[in-house]
């Protein structure tokens, strides 16, 4: 059971945060529906290329935030989430992604207008052919 997690070479975020956000995204988008078994902390560490110290921390955070549950002797599974929470998570992930992009644009010296234009253009590019 491999899940698509990718650690970025360019990102400034610590590994645990990247992995945590990506799993949240997979859950909120429905790619990992409730009940889906997740890899063990050792297997996930092997796939991501990080230590079990990091994956253990990620699973602990996800568990206390209610995304997953661990059943002793059976493994870790995606939890049923209320649709409200799901929507909240989606919004949060999207906001975070935009914030990151805008921060980068600002660093490169873009004005708000320029960023707005780029945003508009990009949205059109993705949604023109039926999304």
């Amino acid at each position: 059971m491999k899940i698509p997690i990718h650690v970025s070479e360019e990102s400034r975020e610590p590994i645990y945060h990247q992995v945590e956000t990506q799993i949240k995204t997979l859950i909120a988008s429905g790619q990992l529906p409730p009940g889906t078994p997740l890899p063990s902390i050792r297997a996930l560490a092997g796939d991501v290329g990080c230590s079990v110290i990091t994956t253990r921390r990620v699973y602990q955070n996800l568990e206390s935030a209610g995304f997953i549950k661990t059943i002793q002797g059976k493994g870790t599974f995606v939890r049923e989430m209320e649709s409200v929470r799901m929507e909240e998570t989606k919004q949060k992930v999207i906001y975070e992604a935009f914030e990151k992009a805008i921060e980068q644009g600002k660093q490169l010296g873009c004005t708000a207008e320029e960023l707005g234009a780029i945003f508009q253009e990009t949205v059109e590019k993705f949604y023109k052919n039926g999304g």
Binding site: R42, S51, V52
Partner: protein, 295 residues
Amino acid sequence: MQTSLVEVKGLTKKYKKFTLGPLDFKVERGIVIGLVGANGSGKSTLFRLLMNLLKEDDGQIQMFGRTHSNHVWKQKVGYAGELLEAYEFLSINELKRLISRWYPTWDEEMYEKLVKRYKLDVSEKFSKCSKGTKKKVEFIFSLCHHPELLLLDEPTAGVDLASQRKVKEDLLMFMDDGEKSIVLATHTVDEINQLCDEIMVLDQGRVVHTYNKDEIYDHWARVWVSDITPPIKQHPNVIHYDTAPPQIVTDDLWVLERALDKEQIDVQQVQRLALEEVLEYLIDSRKRGDGSAVS
């Protein structure tokens, strides 16, 4: 239940031209330590000391919370190093008969399964086996008594690619319950990437670095900058620099950024370093901490 399976304090072994140690480290339960270092840096000597095949000149080793002289621990350890050469006139199966008798917990079914998995001809004389096959045999023998601690000295050196992958899988499986530990000496970056939690770098008999692997990701980086001033060249966290285009390899991005800021140097881009590259800097002491050797 004790949390460290191995505890080493001030361990020293002296030879005419080489001294190992003094070494201090712990192997925590549930953790894989990657032991890396150039040839001759002392990795195999360390394993032999841990296995009590060599006697230390100074310091002490505790296994499973007990002193080294109490041999109960040997039942809980699986070691794959060059141990079988003395019996190389035996076939693989004859070796198995010899070794399995030492372990009350020997799992014959597991042995049969692994022999098949690694496609071994058990009637073959050990002395006639290729280097890779010998490694596979040692690896299988280290696993079949269900140890809690594996000490593996380059288990995949000379082993074919498909079997290397199998070794990785078997080790991940071994670690899956979080109760066991491995010390793995290796020159294979893939193994460090996929298996190890901590990295211990040996250089000329001394541990020069111990890292949680993710610290490397979080701290090491290549930074492209507008300029490199003399104070930056001398900065302790500048591992390496290059002038065309100006770029710095650092082992502590956050500290370096503050230093750059003080020098009013702009950061143009930051990239994480691949583990492979970091290991090269760590293992090759001539590369380490000597930016001036670069044009």
